[in-house]
């Protein structure tokens, strides 16, 4: 198990010009740890991050798109695994921050917490590459390869809360930041 903020700090170190789509806790922390114009947090409804990312990946096949999804979120949009595998964007890296809870909504456990094999689900849906990573050392070591792999790639990251960062939902869903993202992507 790795601390989520340590996981994000490793991503920030290896990140170049990738789009990063993030939801809930990962999104809150990403805006502090890796504050870039190509952060996309404007997902608007639970479970939808992976689908926004699919639109971005199909619309900009020249850019790598990293999604920081949640396990509760993915369970709410499980069909998206099949949709993504079927569309098969080569630039799509689907990272699942598996913390076993609906952390933003009171840290209540997800159904069958810790017993779901998300990589098996992704593989069965048709993702050609999957990884399951529990330690920060492994994540740090494998990240450069994962960021270059032909997608869609699925990475199950076993995480737990680390340091606390201020929450700002207004920032996450801000139209102003979304438009800034669009302009940055246009120029990227």
């Amino acid at each position: 198990m790795m601390k989520r903020d340590d996981m994000l700090k490793a991503l920030a170190r290896h990140r170049k010009d990738e789009i990063v789509v993030a939801v809930y806790m990962a999104a809150q922390e990403l805006t502090h740890i890796s504050p870039k114009d190509l952060n996309y947090t404007f997902t608007g409804a639970m479970g939808q991050g992976s689908s926004h990312a699919l639109g971005l990946a199909l619309g900009r096949p020249d850019k790598r798109v990293v999604v920081l999804d949640g396990d509760g979120s993915l369970l709410m949009n499980l069909g998206s695994l099949v949709t993504i595998a079927n569309a098969a964007p080569k630039n799509y890296i689907h990272c699942l921050c598996e913390n076993g809870t609906y952390e933003t909504n009171g840290a209540v456990p997800i159904p069958r917490a810790g017993q779901i094999r998300f990589v098996d689900m992704a593989r069965a849906a048709g993702y050609p590459k999957t990884h399951e990573i529990s330690s920060l050392e492994d994540w740090d070591r494998q990240l450069p390869t994962i960021l270059k792999e032909e997608g869609p790639v699925f990475v199950d990251l076993k995480v737990e809360p680390g340091e606390l960062y201020p929450e700002d939902f207004r920032r996450l869903y801000s139209i102003e930041y979304r438009d800034k993202f669009r302009r940055a992507l246009q120029n990227s």
């Binding site: 939808q48 639109g55 619309g59």
Partner: protein, 169 residues
């Protein structure tokens, strides 16, 4: 009006003229045969098939952020199932999600709000309550509404629905 026709080729022509190349779709009995199947064969379109309609609302928003226009095709039942995504992603998120919605079971020539089918009858009031602009497309005479509706949606970055009142031929 009951005997009037709605031609699939008229709808497709207008969609192309509006600059739409990405079609995001979940099959709908009203539009599948002559519209979606034709689009799947048309190299001018890239069709993204989804497992659930709310995914499509978000895919269209991601495509918009990436600089593309798109159209979400679904049945009215899918629109009802996607109300929270429409609320958070399209309306509050100010995304120009353009939807083409088949009104399965609507009687030809009858306004959707006058339909005897409960699900069809409530669509326009729900869209009105959400502040989503909508246009009723029942015959080929209605197809000139398509381009201005799409242009307005992208110009104002707001969602919009084209309600297809009969099966296009």
């Amino acid at each position: 009006m009951a005997d009037a026709e709605l031609k699939a080729e008229d709808i497709i022509r207008e969609i192309k003229k509006a600059g739409i190349r990405f079609i995001v779709a979940l099959p709908d009995r009203v539009t599948s045969h002559h519209l979606l199947k034709t689009m799947l064969r048309d190299p001018d379109f890239k069709v993204v098939q989804v497992c659930k309609e709310d995914e499509g609302i978000s895919i269209c928003s991601g495509l918009f952020a990436a600089g593309h226009r798109s159209l979400m095709m679904m049945q009215y039942t899918g629109l009802l199932d996607s109300v929270n995504s429409l609320r958070g992603v399209a309306v509050e998120g100010e995304n120009p999600v353009c939807m083409l919605v088949g009104l399965l079971g609507k009687e030809p020539g009858v306004a959707p709000t006058e339909s005897k089918k409960y699900g069809v009858k409530i669509i326009e009031p729900i869209l009105d309550a959400m502040g989503i602009e909508h246009h009723w497309v029942e015959t080929s005479e209605d197809t000139p509404k398509i381009i201005p509706a799409i242009e307005k949606a992208y110009g104002k970055t707001r969602p919009m629905a084209l309600l297809i009142g009969r099966e296009p031929q």
